[in-house]
Symmetry: C2
Subunit: 346 residues, 2 copies
Amino acid sequence: MANRRASITDLAKALNLSTSTISRALADHNDVSEATKKRVRELAEELSYQPNQLAAALRRGRSNTLGVLVPHITGNFFPQVVNGIALEASKAGFNVMICQSNEDVKQERKNIDLLMNSQVEGILVSVSNTTQDFGHFDAVRSQDVPLVFFDRIVEGFRGNNVSAVMLDDYQGAYQLVSHLIEQGCTRIAHFTGPLHINIHKNRHQGYRDALTAHGLEIDEDLISVMELNQKTGTAAMKRMLKQSNVPDAVFASNDLAAVGAMQAAKAQGLRVPQDMAIAGFSNEVFTSLTEPTITTVDQGCETMGISAVRLLQKMLNGNPDRQAQPRNVVLRPKLLVRESSLRKPE
Amino acid sequence: MANRRASITDLAKALNLSTSTISRALADHNDVSEATKKRVRELAEELSYQPNQLAAALRRGRSNTLGVLVPHITGNFFPQVVNGIALEASKAGFNVMICQSNEDVKQERKNIDLLMNSQVEGILVSVSNTTQDFGHFDAVRSQDVPLVFFDRIVEGFRGNNVSAVMLDDYQGAYQLVSHLIEQGCTRIAHFTGPLHINIHKNRHQGYRDALTAHGLEIDEDLISVMELNQKTGTAAMKRMLKQSNVPDAVFASNDLAAVGAMQAAKAQGLRVPQDMAIAGFSNEVFTSLTEPTITTVDQGCETMGISAVRLLQKMLNGNPDRQAQPRNVVLRPKLLVRESSLRKPE
DNA sequence: TTGAAAGCGCTAACAA
DNA sequence: TTGTTAGCGCTTTCAA
């Protein structure tokens, strides 16, 4: 039973060779004879030898591992980004260690410690909502471990080895609202989340600027700030339908609120999109399952993960143009026009 | 800049103490004077000392890490299970290393190797669809690393240190179909995935047995085997509505197909649930966003993750009753009755 | 209460 | 082409 794992030393003893020869043979160095390599490989196979990465990493001073820290590993957005990260990291020969903060600063701090202790060669992080103090990132920065913030970035946190990748929420909203205007909507309501949150602030600004750019007035009565979910979306829609100035479209800053709004509109007998166009943001799975399907903005989650890793690679030791200031990347989201906003044939 | 990470040796030199004393002080051993501990801790803080887990793990022969291998880290199900795993593992003081196979045996094999090389103390795995050969798990078993299969298990793969946790799909389906019958449905169609896949086989059997138990005949014309998604659900529903024996309910083996079926029914002017009751399986997010909301079966994903870790712990060294045969756990799913099947007031 | 010394498994100079 | 030796950073006996 308890087959102790075979080590290089075991192989060396069995074959009457030194550990260095074994090590070199396994690494396929070219200063080992083919004959020896063959013997080593065969025995390794037979004993189902597994190299001990811990030892190798310790010796090399390189763990070959990247750390990822996200608020959640559930939901739609983060798993997809992490997927992108895992994909790109694996291409570059890195393993990935994934942690979640559960939107809790304490957890976040603990996880950063964990990642640092695990000697990761770089860290990709999307900060928790509740994070106000960023001291734990100082440790990362001061030890010169490359750090990439994605999606939820820490404004003003600069450093030699700090980059960021984010989404151009402003552009996404701008495009979306422009599309609604082109469809003939003139009284476009906006359901937004708390405006101190970046993504909502930016989407909101995109909304305002798109209206202005197309010569439409901004009607503050058509703007509603709330915690965005299905219930609040429904409630806000109901409220607006009682106003004197009823909207002919709703742009909700997330898809859940859009669904809620759509359901309320339909419940009042309005046709979507003819009487009321609806649009959301994020391209959640369910937006293509509702009736009608919901126009939204795709965030290219995977692309974000990929970009983040590439940014990180630029900062890693051994990169020739490492001197160059690490760049920040802003990704363009993609408008997805679906039934809920399409009044005119395309 | 490049603040080399402080090591115990550094602390020892700076304080004129031996590395062993430092190590003990940091570990809060009680054979170190409080005064010394204080000095050590303060300096450690000042130099923002981070213990090197690689070295500690190597020395101890314990990595304190569990490995998780899932087909995907996206979607609804697996992230939630992984969440449960992470939760419970963290409680027990374990870190978690997460890998995805992307439903590819090769990746799966590579990942198992990676986990073994990383000296994980146990592995939790849900096997890829395409896995036919299970040789890579032999390595795990023979090295006596505890192995827990969850959800997608390998039938007949037994071992001293192998357990499994799965869902009682049969029961879930049985309950669900019984519910439909209680609601007055008598011609219940079943949309199922390929029957060589376990979950579908079991759900299908639950369906059949529930009908029989309630004295209903099984009509093979009401059973449709397909790749389950929204499109195929729609198509199957349309087909059935043209049959002579039109169903009055549909139990789809996943939620996507249920949505598709519901949309087709509504498109034909049928009322859901009055004319056609609809039910799915898995409690995907969107099932509570459709109109009407969809009756489904919740799989208790998090619970599955938690159970898996507990099962693993039972097999770890140091467990007193480790001798006891590792158990397999079967979890009870939970019926969620929603609007799409509720004909009678509750 | 502290220190000396060994060694986890591996790699990489340097030597032969 | 192979071996010798040292050491990555840590923990842990054993001795003082």
